[in-house]
């Protein structure tokens, strides 16, 4: 703790926001442990990237704005960056997992493109009929 002091109400808001964000992060990580299959598990860390990250980002913005007596929006940079990159990463991981499950012969939906599957896609759709996991 250093010399800068922020008002008490700001301390309360920052404290609540930080604890809420950390709790959300714990919730997402617990989902990673408790959910059964990979395709359920891939959903749970996204709450860290959205709600947890935005809680702590708002706490950072409020705290440093109060501390330096001016508007400091550098926390927004991280939140924006996370909001852009995490969906891309998740989609990549999801496609990799689907590809591997399909290659291992597990019961997952057929490929939409015809590159992976050797059978025609229309035949695949007619046979399996949509989203079976």
């Amino acid at each position: 703790m250093t010399e800068g002091i922020i008002p008490l109400w700001a301390q309360a808001v920052v404290g609540v926001l930080v604890v809420a964000g950390a709790f959300i992060a714990l919730l997402g990580a617990l989902g990673l442990v408790r959910l059964q299959s990979y395709f359920e598990r891939v959903h749970s860390p996204s709450i860290i990237a959205t709600l947890g990250c935005w809680f702590i980002m708002h706490a950072t913005i409020l705290f440093f704005s109060m501390l330096e007596q001016r508007l400091t929006l550098h926390g927004l940079l991280i939140a924006m960056f996370i909001a852009v990159t995490v969906p891309i990463t998740t989609i990549f991981l999801m496609r990799a997992a689907l590809f591997r499950a399909r290659r291992n012969g597990q019961n997952v939906p057929p490929a939409v493109s015809r590159v992976v599957s050797s059978e025609p896609a229309a035949h695949d759709d007619a046979e399996h009929g949509g989203n079976r996991y």
Partner: protein
């Protein structure tokens, strides 16, 4: 700063460490490679949040650069590992 504020930040750090332990459990146990990559993805995000909380705790903006770098490299490494799982090589 009021002592409650310090307690709240310490509690938040404790919760984040607990969350990181959960992700570490999945990283070590994960039945398939994609589970491990997902757990690592989760861990770097929690580490980034911990950096931001540490920055508030020590009233220093230096931690912000560390958090930004973790976010940057975490994204790149997760994408590279997903690409590796998909194709067996990173750069074709």
């Amino acid at each position: 700063m009021s002592p409650y504020f310090v307690w709240a930040l310490t509690l938040a750090l404790f919760l984040l460490v607990l969350a990181m332990a959960c992700a570490l459990y999945r990283l070590l146990k994960g039945p398939a490679a994609q589970d491990r990559v997902l757990a690592l993805d989760c861990m770097y995000m929690i580490g980034m949040l911990a950096m931001l909380v540490l920055g508030i705790m020590y009233s220093s903006t230096d931690y912000f650069e560390a958090a930004l770098l973790i976010a940057l490299f975490g994204c790149v490494s997760s994408t590279a590992m997903a690409k590796f799982l998909l194709r067996g090589e990173v750069i074709e």
